[in-house]
């Protein structure tokens, strides 16, 4: 068992941290309060090579990093970039749009969409959820009906990350209603197609710089060349994508938790009450230890799951546990850091409260934590 990082991996981490501190952090508070997507930063990430980290050189322009190394870089990005919404949107595209296209796409689809997404020119979304199909996702209604040269899609997806600004979306739709969830197919919908409408940004509690909203399809023509995998492959693509999503999408929140902990420790050492630093009070220092424990256990779970996936092993239980533990840890530690900083932590100026708002979404997306507990229980043989 090897827990260390190589020199190359450490250099990558240092480069990502330097990039993010210099280029991504300024202005995050304003972007959060106005709910603005920082497109310039997204493009800078593309130019730096963030979106292309795990993509083969022919699409990204630089050699692909393995999964664990790519996640290590995204962990560093979360540490150094104060905008958790931006890192969330990047992870959403990398693991739930680019990766399924890489794994299941035709050469035409890879050539057409991956380089533009890697460069930061295109933004991709993953559209599954519908108003009446959330946790019960396979009860979706969006239909794809065969027509000359392709399909016509009709339906409405909701809460889709980056839908209001996306150039393309992986849309899950029913091609054969008789076959239930085995009759699902996936389509790469280009959002400038006739019949495809991007809804307005839906205001939300946190991750406000990652806009989300509806994607409305009305008899929208999608050519056969934009079907991802064969007809009926929707369930397979979705199971595969969900496992990656649960393992990877929260990785930058590990880094954010590390940043939060460092700020809390610094504050506990310097803020004095009753004539001594508040860190001298056991109530405060124990809280910081709990934050450290959550950070380290989340980190171990995540890299173990990623390592398993990298070996080609089944990681469904591991991925459910990562999603569950990391998201709940980020919420608990967000609250603990506010408690530690007192009234200052509650103000927007200190930029501490934002992380707690950003953390809440994590217990919902990629399958709620109740659903993760259901999945984990089943994987443990409890039915």
């Amino acid at each position: 068992m090897e827990f260390g990082w190589s020199t190359d991996q450490k250099e990558l981490r240092a480069a990502v941290i330097e990039f993010a501190q210099n280029e991504l952090s300024a202005g995050s508070r304003d972007d959060d309060s106005t709910g603005s997507f920082p497109r310039d930063k997204w493009e800078k990430c593309g130019a730096f090579g963030i979106q292309g980290l795990h993509m083969p050189e022919q699409y990204s322009g630089s050699p692909a990093r393995d999964l664990v190394t790519s996640l290590y870089a995204m962990d560093a990005l979360g540490y150094a970039c104060a905008d958790n919404g931006l890192t969330f949107a990047l992870n959403a595209q990398m693991w739930t749009v680019q990766l399924p296209i890489l794994l299941f796409g035709s050469e035409y689809q890879k050539e057409r969409f991956l380089p533009a997404m890697c460069r930061g020119e295109f933004i991709g979304a993953h559209a599954v959820t519908e108003e009446h199909a959330g946790s019960d996702v396979y009860s979706m209604h969006t239909r794809a009906v065969r027509c000359d040269g392709g399909y016509r899609l009709t339906g409405r997806k909701c809460y889709v990350t980056c839908a209001p600004i996306a150039n393309l979306a992986l849309v899950f739709a029913i091609t054969d209603p008789e076959k239930g969830k085995w009759g699902l197919s996936v389509f790469i919908v280009e959002t400038n197609s006739d019949g495809c409408e991007r809804g307005p940004v839906v205001e939300k509690m946190g991750l406000r710089t990652a806009p989300f909203g509806d994607l409305i399809l009305t008899d929208c023509f999608v050519p056969e060349s934009n079907r991802l995998g064969p007809e009926g492959a929707g369930l397979t693509v979705s199971s595969n994508a969900l496992e990656y999503e649960r393992c990877c999408i929260l990785v930058s929140q590990l880094g954010a938790m590390e940043r939060q902990l460092e700020q809390s420790i610094e504050y506990a050492k310097t803020r004095e009450q009753f004539g001594r630093p508040i860190g001298k009070f056991q109530a405060v220092s124990h809280r910081l230890v709990d934050m450290k424990l959550r950070l380290e256990t989340s980190r171990l779970l995540l890299y173990q799951a990623a390592w398993r996936k990298q070996q080609g092993e089944n990681a469904s239980l591991d991925s459910a546990l990562v999603k569950l533990h990391l998201s709940e840890s980020f919420v608990a530690s967000g609250l603990d850091s506010i408690r530690t900083m007192g009234g200052l932590g509650y103000t927007s100026v200190a930029e501490i409260e934002r992380s707690l708002r950003d953390a809440i979404g994590g217990v919902l997306y990629a399958g709620t934590n109740d659903i993760q507990r259901n999945n984990a229980a089943r994987a443990m043989g409890i039915r």
Partner: protein
């Protein structure tokens, strides 16, 4: 490797009965998927089990209702896959 389709079928039936369907043993031609006898997660476990047993990998896009809709179809698919991989031919 030469493995009889019948013995693959038995292995699948045993796994479904003991691990996925609480003692219910389907007939080889029973619809597993749209009937809900095996849900999507159950199917993933069954595939993992077959991969471990036969030391082979099932490509995700082979997991279709045509190949995995009934015990008989799964056994036929696996038997084709094992025969083809022994002779270096793709299974689809």
């Amino acid at each position: 490797m030469r493995i009889e389709k019948q013995s693959i079928e038995q292995l699948i039936l045993d796994f479904i009965s003991s691990e996925l369907a609480d003692g219910t043993t389907p007939a080889p031609q029973d619809d597993l998927l749209t009937s809900g006898l095996v849900d999507s997660m159950g199917m993933m476990w069954l595939i993992q089990h077959l991969e471990d047993e036969f030391d082979t990998a099932v490509p995700p896009l082979d997991v279709t209702i045509e190949n995995f809709g009934t015990v008989g179809a799964i056994a036929a698919y696996m038997s084709r896959r094992l025969t083809n991989s022994a002779s270096g031919v793709s299974s689809q």
